[in-house]
Amino acid sequence: MLRVREGDDTSFALLLERHRGPVVHFLYRMVQNQAVSEELAQEVFLRVYRSRETYEPTAKFTTWLFRIATHVALNSIRDRKKEKGHESLNDSHDEMPGGAERQVADRQPTIEQEMVHEVRLREVRQAIEALPAKQRAAVLMHKYEGLDYAQIAGVLSCSESAIKSLLFRAYETLRDRLAHMA
């Protein structure tokens, strides 16, 4: 990022290459809509580009990047709630299956297996979506993006102990909601 600040466009391309996937995936799991998540990710990288001149490495770059991503995601969720009341994003069910690269075995799954998988996936998505936004962000960063407690604490401006407690509550809620799937 420091090289980007000095006007090195190649470094920005490298930075984009390295962080594009994690940011888009994080945002996708936050808002559960591919088009919206990519639009938000564009906003994140635009903000990074705009901030290159004033960037100071006070925290790890990933922490700073996910702080922007979380901020953008939470704003989007808040705005959508205002716009659509409590309409669930999961209703756009046709959007997900085609877009997601599903990890399946070599053999072709049967229709029944496919349906079971769809149901389980929907339940996982609904369970995550039902978490309070901050807990959701913390779980997604912890589980899927591999951020450690200190980094998540930096992103959400909390203490590490608060993050541990937040994550514990979130996983406990998920365990209760998904217990029947075990």
């Binding site: 600040r5 000095e6 006007g7 984009l16 594009r20 996937g21 888009v24 995936h25 996708y28 799991r29 591919q34 990519e38 990710a41 564009q42 990288f45 635009l46 580009y49 705009r50 001149e53 997900m96 877009g99 997601a100 690269e101 599903r102 990890q103 998988h117 389980r120 996936l121 996982v124 998505r125 995550i128 779980v139 589980k143 899927y144 407690y149 541990k164 994550l167 514990f168 996983y171 998920l174 365990r175 998904l178 217990a179 799937m181 075990a182």
Partner: protein, 119 residues
């Protein structure tokens, strides 16, 4: 951490002994099912187009303040200011020299006046 016994599901294999951890490991595995789609191929192109559009909207003077070239601009501006003020320099020096000469001359005159008194 995730487990009240300070264990984490990511730190365990399939043979987890702690019952609380077993529950969390099951959740952890369920969450693996939530895969994210690949990023669209045109993502970078769209981003660079937006950056280019934003750059084009910036006023010309803003680019002069861009940090990498700001020192060069500052030096150039300083040089111009110095160039503008340099002609005033010799006159000022002359004025100072003239004042010094007058002051010395006055001191010599005063000394001439004082010498006869001492005698």
């Amino acid at each position: 951490m995730i487990c009240p016994n300070e264990h984490g599901p990511d730190k365990h294999g399939p043979d987890v002994e702690c019952p609380d951890c077993r529950g969390f490991v099951a959740v952890w595995e369920r969450l693996d099912e939530f895969a994210a789609p690949n990023v669209s191929p045109g993502f970078d192109a769209r981003l660079y187009a937006r950056i280019a559009a934003e750059e084009a909207r910036r006023p010309w003077w803003y680019r002069l303040l861009w940090p990498p070239i700001a020192p060069v601009v500052a030096i150039a501006v300083a040089a111009v200011i110095m160039f503008v003020h340099v002609p005033a320099g010799p006159d000022a020096a002359k004025q100072v020299s003239k004042a010094d000469i007058e002051q010395v001359a006055q001191a010599v005159d005063d000394l001439d006046l004082l010498i006869p008194i001492d005698r």
